[in-house]
């Protein structure tokens, strides 16, 4: 046996999946020994031989699940399969790349030479919109969705799942994303898109300074996008924790999956803060509240804190999938596992956590105090340390491996190089004193483009890497390499001059004429970079239509599970239940006997009447996951109309004329359609993936539905926390201080009564569960009815209270105390209303005998309702007593 100098190297067998056991075969493979040298630690692979499935009756599978062929439009409207949704995300994201890219090219044309307002191809107003929407579109509508195209497609394959935990919600995430993007597009035609920068700082973001319905639509579009992300986050967190294959412990999770897992955790908490900011901003624009108009720090600094608390994790949310893709691509094309794998995972984990405690480095030039600036400078330096580790890990992996310079690797390596430059220049920005010079200049612009577009570079590499898997075709390697060369040249020609001409101020097009040559270089670079994207699109597109058939695994040394199935994979992914129990990937047969009752993802498994459908009745369909539903699409359409309608309300009133009517009609239509679609989704018979699953840490004793519910509530905690925090912040900043702030309600009694009502309604929901356990339909209906009535009582009591305030002339827009009171308790009331709508639905179903055998929905409703109660327990003293 030749001496193995590196037991991380992988045996090469051209064209086949590498053998997981290297060096001296381990006679007693133990999947639990996870030493750093364990070659199986990246999820292992099929041992040596043929792939278990090369022929699959894909046609049969598809027809058996009501899914039309991929060539039909209907397929794409109804699909809930993660692979289809992944393709939808990837393709749609590329459209937004084009959109944002065109805006960038327009900006670069305007910046060709310094200009006065009115000169050049763009007017000042147009330029402001271009700047703002270029940023918004790229950050939100291109980067993350592009990454999540891969996440959707690849993660379930890597972890051994048939689909995500909530397939319909996955489709819903996509349709909300598309609807939100279309809203942003519409906003350009409405009086102009939002022109106040992608960061939407206050008070520029209020109608006084950015009037126009279109600006509101941009904000509402972003709000809908946030909803899409939150749903997606709940879905991925539940799936990735609960539904891993046996033996695939967290430590053995592939690095791309790890990066996505951390991304979705960050998304869950960060986007909730953004949602709070956007709701408040929308209220300022639509209802006339006065949060961001406040002259005190409570105005502009409130936005800054909320936005950047979200905004900093956001940049890592955007970068992490690229990092994960880099790790995968580096491993495959150096022929070895990453150096320091567990440290790499630890570093990613640290960054994810630390990302929430550095946000004030975006605020060094605001009026925050010196002590906190110093603290955040320290935390910012701190966050560069895990990144150093990851960068070195990638570098050492290259040094110790044998590199093959394929297109994916070129892009991934390019990404590393660009990220290092971007990262180092970011460290300068983290030093307060240097930031005093750099803030608002092109140094910042160059820095973040190097890191973010460095991330894009890795994702383009991922596109080439996973393209054969997703389409079964291989692209032209020569064209791929040419696209990389053009890309790299264009990139550096575009962004490096920005460091040299760093003194150019951001977001304007007049600058010192001495910098003009650099800006001209940048503009040329922009067009070369843009062309390279077109070349990539051409390369990929050509391959789809006339490319060679790709092997199921065209990349030697890849070891993650997606390469062990055909390209593209069959509908249900695997030829059995994946398991790593033996130390490498194998497939256990699916036994019909232990299918149990097909769980639904909120749908109705039992026929009305409360009988559980017998498991054997439909033959093989029962154990299979459903793949089609029209309701996510319909809900997405409804959301578009509803949010479009909302944009027509300014300062509490509909805009005048025919457009006012159009907006109102749109709002009503969207609301009604959405309600109908969600009821239909609840009643639909849809089967999500059922357990038990292999590895489910740390939610092994909690069902998918319950886990999802709790994860959602955690995000709702941050939403309300941000609202309450906003109130506290504004009150601290209030002229005269905390004590000078008089509560809006004159007496605590109405609030106390509402507290009693909600507490009692929580009690009755608990009793409903008890009744269900005792198999009493009457008990369930009665308790839920009591809950409903008490909830209505809460709303009536609140209505009376508000009416009295209106009579005194106190409304949302009167002053900041009124704004915070009405909006915060109003958001809470909206949660109550949603709960009561759900409760009504449940009463109807309960009266037909539901929830006796499966009281899950009752329990989950209870979780939501008790949460609403808990929020009130804090709102009441804060707004009525203190």
């Amino acid at each position: 046996m030749p001496e193995d100098t590196s037991d991380d190297e992988r045996d090469a067998q051209p064209g086949s999946v590498a053998d997981a056991s290297v060096g001296a075969p381990d006679p007693d493979p133990d999947p639990d020994t996870d030493s750093d040298t364990d070659p199986r630690a990246d999820g292992g692979t099929v041992a040596g031989q043929d792939l278990p499935v090369s022929e699959v009756e894909e046609e049969e599978d598809d027809h058996g699940h009501g899914l039309p062929d991929t060539s039909s439009l209907k397929r794409w409207l109804v699909t809930t399969n993660h692979k289809d949704v992944g393709i939808l995300y990837t393709v749609t994201a590329m459209f937004f790349l084009l959109f944002g890219g065109v805006l960038a090219l327009l900006m670069r044309l305007q910046l060709w030479t310094p200009r006065a307002p009115g000169a050049g191809p763009l007017s000042a107003a147009a330029y402001n919109q271009a700047v703002s929407l270029h940023g918004l579109l790229m950050v939100f509508w291109f980067l993350s969705p592009f990454a999540f195209g891969f996440a959707n497609y690849i993660v379930p394959l890597q972890i051994g799942a048939k689909d995500l935990a909530f397939p319909r919600l996955n489709a819903l995430s996509y349709w909300f994303y598309l609807a939100s993007g279309i809203l942003v597009g519409v906003s350009f035609f409405q009086s102009g898109a939002f022109p106040g920068g992608w960061t939407m700082y206050a008070p520029l973001n209020i109608p006084t300074y950015t009037p126009g319905v279109g600006a509101t639509t941009s904000v509402l579009g972003l709000m809908l996008f946030t909803a899409s992300v939150t749903i997606g986050g709940v879905n991925f967190i539940t799936t990735m924790h609960r539904m891993r294959a046996e033996g695939l412990t967290m430590r053995r999770l592939p690095l791309f999956s790890w990066s996505i897992l951390l991304t979705v955790w960050m998304m869950l908490f960060a986007f909730a803060a953004l949602l709070a900011a956007l709701i408040i901003l929308s209220a300022d624009r639509i209802l006339g509240t006065t949060y961001f108009a406040a002259q005190s720090a409570g105005g502009s600094l409130l936005w800054a804190h909320l936005f950047w608390f979200f905004g900093h994790p956001e940049v890592y949310i955007v970068f992490f999938p690229a990092l994960g893709a880099m790790a995968e691509i580096f491993q495959t094309f150096t022929g070895r596992r990453i150096v320091g794998r567990k440290w790499f995972i630890g570093a990613m984990l640290l960054v994810a956590i630390q990302s929430f405690v550095v946000w004030m480095h975006h605020m060094f030039l605001t009026s925050i105090n010196l002590q906190i600036k110093t603290l955040f400078m320290a935390t910012t330096i701190g966050i560069s340390l895990p990144f150093d580790l990851m960068v070195f890990a990638l570098i050492y992996t290259m040094i110790k491996g044998r590199i093959r310079f394929t297109t994916p690797f070129l892009y991934a390596f390019g990404a590393l190089f660009l990220f290092i430059i971007g990262g180092i220049t970011g460290v300068f920005l983290g030093a307060v004193v240097l930031d005093y010079e750099f803030r608002g200049t092109y140094w910042v612009v160059a820095h973040f483009h190097y890191v973010m577009v460095g991330g894009v570079t890795a994702l383009i590499g991922a596109l080439y890497y996973w393209f054969p898997k997703m389409t079964g075709k291989m692209y032209d390697e020569f064209l791929g390499k040419v696209s990389f060369v053009l890309y790299f040249i264009g990139f550096n020609l575009l962004y490096f001059p920005m460091f040299v001409a760093w003194e150019t101020p951001r977001r304007v097009f007049s600058y010192d004429a001495a910098f003009a040559p650099w800006h001209k270089l940048a503009t040329i670079g922009a067009f070369i970079l843009g062309f390279s994207f077109l070349l990539t699109v051409y390369t990929i597109g050509k391959a789809i239509f006339v490319g060679e058939e790709a092997d199921d695994n065209p990349w030697a040394y890849s070891t993650t599970a997606e390469w062990a199935v055909p390209s593209p994979p069959p509908l249900e992914n695997f030829p059995g239940i994946p398991s790593y129990g033996d130390g490498k990937l194998s497939f256990r047969p699916e036994s019909a006997a232990d299918g149990g009752e097909a769980a639904t993802d909120g749908g109705n498994a039992a026929a009305d009447g409360g009988e559980v459908a017998p498991t054997a009745h439909d033959g093989h369909d029962d154990d299979h996951v459903s793949h089609a539903s029209i309701w996510p699409f319909v809900t997405g359409v409804a959301a578009f109309f509803a949010f479009f309608g909302l944009s027509g309300i300014v300062d509490g009133e509909l805009i005048g004329g025919i457009w006012g009517m159009v907006h109102l009609g749109s709002l009503v239509f969207g609301g009604a359609l959405g309600l109908g679609a969600m009821v239909a989704m609840g009643l639909e018979e849809f089967h999500g993936p059922t357990g038990p699953f292999g590895e489910s840490w740390p939610f092994s004793k909690t069902s998918n539905l319950k886990t999802g519910m709790w994860v959602f509530l955690a995000s709702d905690v941050v939403l309300f926390g941000a609202f309450i925090g906003s109130y506290v912040f504004i009150r601290v900043a209030f002229p005269g201080g905390w004590a000078a702030w008089e509560p809006i309600p004159h007496r605590s009694l109405p609030g106390l009564i509402n507290t009693y009502l909600l507490l009692t309604s929580s009690f009755s929901v608990v009793l409903a569960l008890v009744a269900a356990e005792r198999n009493s339909t009457k008990g369930v209906v009665a308790s839920m009815l009591v809950t409903l009535l008490l909830g209505i009582g809460f709303l009536i009591n609140k209505g009376i209270e508000w009416f009295e305030l209106f009579h005194e002339g106190i409304w949302l827009s009167t002053n900041i105390r009124a704004s915070t009171f009405f909006l915060t308790t109003g958001l809470h009331a909206a949660h109550v209303i949603v709960g009561l709508i759900i409760a009504t639905y449940m009463i109807v179903r309960a009266s037909r005998g539901a929830y006796l055998d499966d009281d899950g929905p009752l329990e989950f409703f209870g979780l939501y309702w008790h949460f609403v109660d808990i929020v009130w327990l804090f709102l009441f003293p804060l707004f009525y007593i203190l």
């Binding site: 909730a272 995000s715 926390g721 941000a722 507290t755 929901v765 608990v766 327990l873 009441f876």
Partner: protein, 90 residues
């Protein structure tokens, strides 16, 4: 005790807790001099009630620990933001 009985007692405790909070206000403790301790007392009462609802009505006491940690993370994030932001303008 049976679950129904436990839940009833919890309900009574919560009811009383809410009343006590208003009682603090009516006792005149929210005047200068005793304001901040009173605020503290009221907020602590809210926190205790919230924990009771979470532990018993939402069942967290009997669920996996990871769920409690999950909610704790959300709470921590909201608190960190509120406290840091408020401190930054003092």
């Amino acid at each position: 005790m049976s679950h129904a009985k436990l839940y009833t007692w919890i309900y009574v405790v919560l009811f009383v807790g809410a009343t006590v909070q208003v009682g603090v206000e009516y006792a005149g403790l929210l005047e200068p001099g005793t304001y901040w301790p009173a605020v503290g007392a009221i907020l602590v009462l809210s926190l205790v009630k919230a924990v009771i609802v979470a532990a018993y009505y939402q069942h967290l006491r009997w669920e996996q620990r990871s769920l409690s940690y999950l909610m704790g993370m959300g709470l921590l994030a909201a608190l960190a933001l509120t406290i840091a932001a408020s401190y930054s303008i003092t």
